[in-house]
Amino acid sequence: MKENILLINICKEKLHYLEFVKPICDILDSNKARYFVKSYKQVGKEDLKKCSKVIICGTSLYDNEFVKNIKKFKWIRNLDKPILGICGGMQIIGLLFRGSILKETEIGFYKETFGKEFLGLVGEVEVYHLHNNYIDFLKLKEFEIFCGDAIIQAVKHREKNIYGVLFHPEVRNKDLIIEFCSC
């Protein structure tokens, strides 16, 4: 892969980096993908210019600090590069497009159905959940829903290459990340 992926760390707690960012670094390393990691508070114009794609990693169940700092992500609406938001990252994308946060806790493995192929996933797929919140993407007409009826699990912007998944592909379905890097 000749990508240079910007991995964005949204964790408030330093120790959570090892749980939510490092596993994605390991997946990219094992596929020889180039990447660099930045805290969401430190992402600047140069980072957005030099990257080819962006992955916004997830964070812990109790970490919602990124919601208070949502303005730090306003570049998402204007960046013309593929973006993948994972869990908290998907919530950030939804908030930027005027979505609202709803509460629902899901922890562990769940079977979800993808009506259409989504970054290599199709049909019934077991995914790993770790969230207390989700975004009401049903109301966001800019996004196509690929999985989920009430709790929306996977979306893509209709015109831009902006993807969001509520589940954690770094735990189960690592190929989704590779697929995103190759798309």
Partner: protein
Amino acid sequence: MSKKIKLGVLFSGGKDSCYAAYLAKQDGYEICCLITIVSENEDSFMFHTPSINCVKKQADIMGIPLVFVETPGKKEKELLDLKKAIKIAIKKYKIKGIVTGAVESVYQSLRVQTICNDLKIECFNPLWKKNQVELLKELVKNKFEIIITGVAAYPLDVSWILRKIDNKFVLDVSRLAEKYKLNPAGEGGEFESLVLNCPLFKRKLRVIGFKTSGSGNAFRSEVMLG
């Protein structure tokens, strides 16, 4: 710089929980207590059992208070006892988060995540999804002195009991992992370990006695430390 929250570590005395505690400390967190669940069920899915009583000596040598709770080890009942232990730690040591040594076990991690979520505290899994050979190499590099206290998978046998985790061990177990599809760091319960020394300890612990039982490819050793 924001103030670091106080943490408790789910502690078995084995390599993973000890290394997770070390990483938390390295990141500047205060470890206010260790939490150990002693299961009467030797086959517990949730808790490590061989030589579990050694945690008292380890906690002492680290100078960290220990919350020690016993459980009959019945499948979901032991989770209530774990929750009880965490509640004690929250009340007594004002912890705001739990650190675990979970690497691969979704069974264990989702149960701890659920308990922490119910109790409204953070859950940290700093070894989560870590490459297992890398994990073993890091332990050796960071001067963790570890012995094997239990085995439960072919072709591991009694000769592995009390063996040290060193570079030769990493090489041997990596070869076996490839040939027999074992988890090289024992994450599928292939083996259990005990830490005798690490950067968190004020001095090295010595094995002053042990009693090994088992047969075939399933052995466990109860170790006494001095």
